[in-house]
């Protein structure tokens, strides 16, 4: 019949649906027989882990929202009611709060895996850029979520971060007023942050869908960074990678459980257990750990607008990374100098994180400036030059040859 899909499913019900709406064919094509490089290591788990984490956040978040009151007079108490009165409310809340940290751990590893193995290079530029959009959306969502319990750090963090936009020339102050819904962080701010915090995760779901569509067009990169040539180089996604991802998910859940059940306050700030008070500034206003490197970059520049530009610039360089890295070789495995620089960059990011957590005085100021400079040097100078001067190692003929050199001969 014209227009109907030819389904190969035998079950009559599935066949009837599939001929009209080929969902089953699609799932089988994209997650069943989908040809996947056979040489993934466990770092290729982290995309699936991020997906699982997103689902956990949405499910716990929806239930929390049923019990939360986004009003400055009630927000803190309503969170404490969730902790004490709602059945397993403490579990929901601790899973959601620590889930945010787990999400950023998973996504940062996912990103650095991409950096190490050159997953952003042609033809995966757009796939990478969509990923950077997801990171930005996650940051906005995480920031607004942290405001909702309306503790001291919620309030003062919101004040500091929203004030950054006032650095924008001409329209800055109007933007800040718009963000606040008034002339200071107050009830309208909390209301709109709650609304956006509920909205953005679903936007993330949409962009993740695009991320996966783009991934399934180009296919996955792999630790060797060379394209699969024939059937010998790939495996069907199911059962090989469904089971390998499952192993990763189990380990991830164990780490998650240790946090939630035995150290639920590990990533938290004690100051946020005190209700927001606009008249009392905490001794130190520190953002959540996953923003610390960016916070350090912000404070490394002794000029407000300059600092804000550098902070957003730190993400912007990731956007154009596919064109900054001029080397035709993807995997750091075959790029001895890049491999070294990669680890220097990791150290640089950790140091920036430590700088972000400390008062900007003494050695921390110098460290912050040196590492900020190096961060941009890495992306804007070293990577473009490296592609021209680095002597890369010879690439293997194919994935299966590298995996099984004896059999290939």
């Amino acid at each position: 019949m014209v227009g109907l899909h030819k389904s190969e499913f035998k079950n009559p019900v599935i066949n009837w649906i599939d001929t009209r709406l080929p969902l089953f064919t699609m799932m089988s094509k994209e997650y069943g027989v989908f040809p996947t490089p056979k040489n993934f290591n466990y770092f290729w788990n982290f995309g699936a882990l991020a997906m699982v984490n997103l689902v956990i956040m949405i499910v716990t978040g929806i239930v929390l929202a049923m019990n939360y009151d986004p009003n400055t007079g009630n927000a803190f108490e309503s969170v404490e009611r969730i902790m004490r009165d709602v059945n397993y409310g403490w579990l929901l809340r601790y899973v959601h709060a620590n889930g945010a940290s787990m999400f950023f751990i998973v996504v940062y590893i996912h990103i650095f895996r991409g950096l190490y193995y050159g997953s952003y290079k042609k033809p995966r530029e757009l796939l990478w850029m969509i990923g950077v959009v997801i990171l930005l959306l996650m940051m906005a969502t995480g920031f607004m979520g942290y405001v909702l319990p309306w503790g001291q750090m919620s309030y003062w963090g919101a004040t500091v971060i929203t004030n950054l936009f006032s650095a924008i020339p001409v329209v800055g102050d109007s933007i800040v007023t718009l963000l606040w819904g008034g002339f200071s962080v107050d009830n309208p701010t909390l209301n709109r942050f709650f609304s956006l915090h509920y909205l953005l995760p679903f936007v993330i779901v949409g962009v993740v869908f695009l991320h996966i569509v783009a991934l399934h067009i180009t296919g996955s990169n792999n630790p060797l960074g060379i394209e699969p040539k024939d059937k010998q180089d790939t495996l069907p996604f199911h059962p090989y990678y469904t089971i390998k991802d499952s192993v990763g998910i189990c380990v991830y859940l164990m780490v998650f459980a240790v946090l939630v059940f035995f150290a639920p306050g590990f990533f938290g700030d004690p100051a946020n257990w005190t209700p927001a008070n606009p008249l009392v500034t905490p001794a130190a206003i520190v953002p959540e750990w996953y923003f610390l490197p960016f916070y350090a970059i912000l404070r490394a520049v002794p000029d407000k607008l300059g600092g804000v530009l550098m902070m957003f610039g730190a993400i912007a360089v990731l956007f154009v990374l596919p064109w900054l890295d001029t080397s035709p070789v993807r995997s750091a495995k075959f790029r001895p100098i890049y491999r070294l620089l990669f680890w220097v960059l990791i150290v640089c990011c950790f140091v920036l994180g430590a700088v972000g957590a400390h008062h900007p005085e003494g050695i921390w100021v110098i460290l912050g400036r040196v590492c900020t400079a190096y961060y941009f040097l890495h992306f804007l100078v070293l990577l473009p030059l490296l592609g021209k001067f680095e002597k890369t190692l010879p690439l293997p003929e194919s994935i299966s040859q590298a995996v099984l050199p004896a059999a290939a001969e």
Binding site: K38, N39, N41, Y42, F43, E77, E80, M83, R84, W90, L91, Y94, P223, L235, P239, Y240, I243, K244, S246, V247, C250, V251, L253, M254, A257, V258, V260, F261, F262, P264, G265, F266, F267, D269, P270, A271, W273, T274, A283, A284, V286, W289, L292, K333, W343, I346, V347, F350, V351, G353, A354, G356, A357, H358, H359, E361, V403, L404, A407
Partner: protein, 257 residues
Amino acid sequence: MNIKRFAILGAVFGALLLPATFSAASAEEEISLPKQDWSFSGPFGSYDKASAQRGFQIYKEVCSACHSMKLGYYRELAGIGLSEAQIKAVAAEQTFPTIGDDGQPAERPGTPADHFHSPFPNDKAARAANNGALPPDQTLLTNAREGGADYIYALLTGYEDAPAGVKLGDGMNYNKYFPGHQIGMAAPLSDDRVEYADGTKATLKQEAHDVATFLAYMSNPELETRKRLGLRILMFLAALTCVTYAVKRQIWSDVHH
């Protein structure tokens, strides 16, 4: 493979830098707290109920004169071993405002479902009665302070005469563990400040330990349930991980890699 090197390097960086990253919020205020041995710490920890009950006695007889605990409920005292009748009696000692059947403001005795009665009607009244200082609400106090129960213990036992050269403000007291060392609260506990019903000798250290245990309970009444559930979930996940890994090995056994 690179995995091993990744893992080792990651672990090393993590170990080196994470503690620095997270404990660094108050870099200028480096007062190290003496660590106490708490019944509720560690993965198998649970509250020492006798100690928490003595702590509740101190809260009732001493702290509650100035400090509110307005997010906690009387019924939560069941978690430190008080019987239903005892909780009803404790709650009924306080009266709460209500509207009578005649529509006029009236008072009623407290019930286990009530929040703990606050000593002052509002923060301004609390400040007015305390030389301008606001006694912080105690419900979440051990969570809200760096160091938790160790901090409470240190603060309560940390009063001493101001060192030479330190000028105290009017009505202020010197405490070596309070940030800035000047605290509005006068030393609330001392040897034999209370007479324990169970005959335990009420030394200052004993009192501080007991009340810190009670406050830790009020901050985290879910702690015992949480840790018990966590152990069971971890055991389940450990088994699931082993099974999943075995299945993975089985499925991959025909792949050369």
